[in-house]
């Protein structure tokens, strides 16, 4: 898809995150994986959270960091693909972007700094805990359905 149109959104039904400026911790409530993103990654994550197009995200990263557009775009796209592969973001089908108009990007008052490669660290040590006590939740209208292991959990 055209980068002008392509947008991602945070997978809010499964992901909870805490933002500590230079590091964001993300917790996938379903898989048992949790993540740390550092470098330029928190900047990219916040721009995703503002429902910006991929082109606009790259513009936003360039306002913060030194570097050529080509180099920053390449690394940013790779990072976004990593977020998508891990289920941390979803490709927006237009439902969210139709209701959100991001503010114009602003460089702010701080000078650009050398580009820091965005890093996504994945921690899997809690998966075992998720499978140890599988929970089958029942709602008022029906009977519980047994939750199946995901392919990743079976590995």
């Amino acid at each position: 898809m055209n980068k002008e149109l392509l947008r991602y959104r945070i997978n809010e039904s499964k992901i909870v995150f805490e933002d500590y400026d230079d590091e964001i911790v993300l917790i996938n409530l379903e898989s048992g994986n949790y993540y740390s993103i550092i470098g330029a990654a928190p900047v990219i994550w916040r721009l995703v959270g503002e429902c910006r197009s991929v082109n606009n995200i790259i513009d936003g990263v360039m306002l913060k960091y030194e570097g050529t557009r080509e180099a920053i775009a390449h690394v940013t796209l790779d990072f976004l693909k990593g977020l998508l592969d891990e289920g941390l973001v979803l490709q927006d089908d237009g439902a969210v972007s139709a209701t959100v108009t991001p503010q114009p990007l602003s460089a702010g008052e701080t000078a650009k700094v050398p580009f820091e490669t965005p890093v996504l660290k994945r921690y899997t040590d809690m998966q075992e805990l998720i499978l140890l006590d599988p929970v089958h939740e029942v709602d008022e209208s029906g009977w519980p359905e047994k939750k199946e292991e995901t392919e990743e959990q079976k590995e």
Binding site: V16, Y20, G32, P134, H136, E137, V138, P144
Partner: protein, 377 residues
């Protein structure tokens, strides 16, 4: 065709009343109920037993919190077993499956009623908020899982406390009356060893596996259980604690479970203001050291191990609460040395340093702030 919950019972409240009726019948069948009273997380909680069968299993870990029965409890938990009362367990409004595997949990949760069934263990836990009543049923006291002896009624207390902004955290806690630390991190990182090593020091013991954190502007740790756990092979590190082990016969298959109030009642505490988060890490070096780390490191140590043990509906709120907590408190990696007798002094030094924060206007070399919000500092 199976009936839905709504078809079988007019309301969740009517179902719960029916269960409480079973408890009353169980009490009659054994000649009455036995009442115990506790102060947990600052709240008065009553455990009412249909006969004596469950009392040893369900009260020993809470003994340090026992108080005389005085005012009516804020929460009453009714407990019965079928083996000695002859009264069957609750007829649950959902099918939990006859082939449920060990550890499987089936739950129902609405705004008022929580039901958690562990079919393989023959246990049911319930809590009605409006009735301020919990119910614990087990087929036979002999079927109570090993870990429930060390942390009884965890599911009911966790839910009730969460409504009172008190989170059941996975961690150990030690400290002094005016402040202490929470030891947290993944299993095997050294939490239990650290907490047990502190029993031979001025530090008081608030718990090993689980503690209650009262969040807010002034975080506080409340003790829940007076137990501790160790791998069987590690019990040799604490020969003086051997008399407190309840499961000496099963150390090959299970962790050693210590009931510490029996042996060291003066070392038990109801809790203390929470001053710091320590993340134990086994180093293999002689000395124990501390290193200040970021709030993000604190959250990675504390949140996953706590949150993944919570029901889905409570996880988001818990992460937000812990996310704030690790910003309020200083976070440290506690590099555990091989000489565990030196660990308590390092923790005491951390507490002493934190107490001096205002006079130093403390920020560390990484620029992480001190306890800006703590009232006791």
């Amino acid at each position: 065709m199976q009936q839905s919950f709504a078809e079988k019972y007019p309301s969740a409240a009517s179902f719960f009343r029916n269960v409480c009726g079973s408890y009353d019948v169980a009490c009659l069948s054994v000649g009455g109920e036995v009442r115990h009273s506790y102060l947990i997380g600052g709240h008065r909680i009553g455990l009412h037993f249909a006969g004596p069968a469950l009392i040893p299993s369900m009260t020993k870990a809470l003994e340090h919190l026992a108080v005389p029965e005085a005012a009516p409890p804020e929460l009453t938990v009714c407990l019965w077993d079928s083996a000695t009362t002859g009264v069957r367990g609750p007829a649950l409004p959902f099918n939990t499956g006859a082939d449920a595997a060990k550890g499987e949990i089936w739950s129902y949760d609405d705004e008022d009623l929580m039901i958690i069934s562990q079919p393989a263990c023959h246990t049911v836990n319930m809590l009605s908020h409006s009735a301020a009543t919990g119910v614990y049923w087990v087929g036979d006291a002999a079927q109570i899982p090993y870990h429930d002896h060390g942390s009884p009624l965890r599911l009911i207390l966790r839910r009730w406390m969460s409504e009172r902004h008190c989170l059941l955290a996975h961690g150990a806690a030690v400290g002094l009356a005016d402040g202490g630390v929470l030891l947290t991190g993944r299993g095997g990182c050294g939490k239990s060893t650290t907490a047990l090593a502190c029993l031979n020091s001025p530090l008081l013991y608030a718990g090993d596996d689980y503690c209650l954190i009262a969040a807010g502007e002034h975080p506080h740790i409340y003790s829940l259980y007076n137990t501790g756990k160790q791998n069987g092979a590690d019990t040799v590190r604490f020969p003086d604690l051997m008399p407190a082990i309840s499961s000496l016969h099963a150390l090959d298959n299970e962790k050693a479970l210590y009931f510490l109030h029996d042996l060291l009642p003066a070392k038990m505490t109801h809790g203390f203001p929470l001053r710091a988060l320590l993340i134990p890490h086994i180093t293999g070096h002689d000395n124990t050291t501390v290193r200040r780390v970021s709030p993000a490191e604190g959250l990675k140590a504390l949140a996953p191990t706590t949150v993944y043990q919570l029901p889905v509906g409570e996880q988001r709120k818990a992460i937000k609460m812990l996310g704030r907590l690790v910003q309020q408190l200083p976070n440290f990696i506690l590099g555990l040395g091989t000489d565990i007798t030196r660990i308590p002094d390092v923790i005491l030094a951390v507490l002493s340093d934190i107490n001096e924060i205002p006079s130093k206007n403390y920020t560390d070399e990484n620029g992480y702030p001190g306890q800006r919000h703590h009232p006791c500092v």
